[in-house]
């Protein structure tokens, strides 16, 4: 029978996934069906037995929670990418801190309560001691994707997005935020217990974590995975 893999992926990772999938499909003679959404929604769905074979979240908390609730197959939870927070700016000469300090207009960010890039942006602002000061200027998008739309449509000129989005769009009017300003955005995956093709799912996970894909991801705006995560390479629950 032909192999179909159902993958639930955080919306922000979808473009990158689509970039690297053809090679995987060619090698494993397996068709991958992508369902994307916000990590929160996907988490809810998987918790209620959505028929996915692999879950690529944009954060670490939700896979952890799922694992705790017994929703994960064995120890399939792993980090597969490191999100990088970027600041979209209007072609400016000054530095990040100065610009944020003096910016009189709205600043866009993803909703810190529900989106990983949002909570990273909050941490960054807190580190710069601007969180309280800029409260009234903060426009929250539902997720990183919408934050990008708000900026891209010209409705705001300054805001936090994912570096991967800027890369994918071929834009260069952004700065990467210094990594010390926020907790690393560890994007984790897991294989849900209801997965019908855990083996193929695991090989996709392995493929994503392979050096070849990771190198590709760095070009797409993702960071370098910390080594302790790479050491869990191949840890399949089967």
């Amino acid at each position: 029978d032909n192999c179909t893999l159902r993958v639930a992926v955080a919306a922000s990772f979808r473009p990158a996934l689509e970039e690297v999938l053809p090679e995987f499909e060619r090698r494993h003679a397996c068709v991958v069906q992508i369902s994307s959404g916000s990590s929160g929604v996907l988490y809810q769905q998987i918790a209620h037995r959505a028929p996915f074979d692999l879950f690529l979240s944009a954060d670490r908390e939700r896979p952890e929670l799922l694992e705790k609730q017994g929703g994960a197959l064995g120890s399939s939870r792993q980090t597969y990418a490191l999100g990088l927070l970027a600041l979209w700016h209007p072609k400016s000469e000054s530095n990040i801190e100065q610009l944020l300090q003096t910016w009189p207009d709205k600043i866009v960010l993803a909703d810190p309560k529900v989106a990983p890039f949002g909570s990273a942006a909050r941490q960054a602002l807190q580190s710069l001691d601007l969180w309280k000061k800029k409260q009234t200027q903060l426009a929250r998008a539902h997720n990183a994707g919408q934050a990008y739309l708000m900026l891209d449509s010209g409705n705001a000129q300054l805001g936090f997005v994912a570096a991967s989005q800027m890369q994918a769009a071929g834009r260069d009017n952004y700065w990467l935020l210094p990594q010390h300003l926020y907790k690393p955005i560890e994007q984790q995956l897991l294989i849900p217990t209801q997965s019908r093709r855990p083996k193929e799912a695991q090989s996709l996970a392995d493929y994503l974590r392979s050096g070849e894909v990771q190198a590709q991801l760095q070009h797409l705006g993702y960071g370098v995975l910390p080594t302790q995560d790479r050491s869990r390479d191949g840890g399949s629950g089967l």
């Binding site: 979808r14 994307s36 209620h48 028929p51 994707g145």
Partner: protein, 240 residues
């Protein structure tokens, strides 16, 4: 226009969903609206408001509660899954079920308004000729409410087409099964594929427009010939 195969699939799925939901809601909504319009109790207002409530909850939240309802983790979900011979969540059946709840007010409200307006008079006239209530509904009230029916079905259909939050929550965007056009469209937007998004949106609106116009035309054709012809014409070129 250059539309991807997956988008065509989503479009077709959406039309199927909207068509099926409209049909089911018609079958459910007509008797419901009719019973309500005949019910003289004060509780009737309560029920009417209750039917409006699916509108009030944000679709995603409604979807969340449906997710809880459908979940095989709890009793109702298990029962429903037995009833429908398979889990409702992340299945086309589940989408239909959810859409029926979600679009209920759109079918019932216009029908209720029409039945309230001339239902009593006509049902009385029918009963006064010995026509039993059900026959009166089917053979007297429905033909007289043709315009309201077209309007109700059009609203329901359109609303189901645009359904997003609920589907997002309980559908799981599985291509060919639950990936409807609203989700595909949103994914295009999120993936910054604006061209594809614009094309799909245009397509969706185009198809809907044609379908709605056709429904109206049909509703018009079904009316006994001659009606509405000889009404007062708007006055042309009046001076002074």
């Amino acid at each position: 226009m250059n539309i991807a195969a997956a988008d065509w699939q989503a479009l077709w799925l959406t039309l199927k969903l909207a068509g099926l939901t409209t049909l089911l809601l018609f079958i459910i909504g007509v008797p419901l609206a009719w019973k309500l319009s005949q019910w003289q109790s004060r509780w009737r207002h309560g029920i009417e408001v209750l039917i409006t409530l699916p509108l009030v909850l944000p679709p995603t939240v409604l979807g969340f509660y449906l997710l809880l309802l459908f979940s095989p983790n709890y009793a109702p979900g298990q029962w429903l899954s037995q009833l429908f011979d398979g889990p409702l969540v992340f299945s086309f059946t589940g989408l239909v079920f959810a859409s029926v709840i979600y679009s209920l007010p759109f079918m019932v409200q216009p029908l209720l308004a029409a039945f309230n307006a001339n239902g009593q008079r006509l049902t009385q006239a029918a009963a006064a000729l010995g026509i039993p209530p059900w026959a009166a509904l089917l053979k007297v009230l429905l033909p007289a409410s043709r315009a309201a029916i077209v309007s109700a079905c059009a609203l329901t259909f359109a609303h189901t087409l645009g359904e997003f939050g609920v589907v997002l929550m309980i559908g799981g965007a599985i291509p060919g099964e639950t990936q409807v056009v609203s989700i595909a469209l949103y994914q295009h937007v999120e993936a910054m594929e604006y061209g594809a998004a614009h094309r799909l949106a245009l397509m969706l609106m185009g198809i809907t427009t044609v379908l709605l116009l056709a429904a109206r035309w049909l509703g018009h054709r079904l009316a006994p010939r001659g009606s509405n012809n000889e009404q007062a014409k708007p006055v042309v070129g009046v001076l002074g």
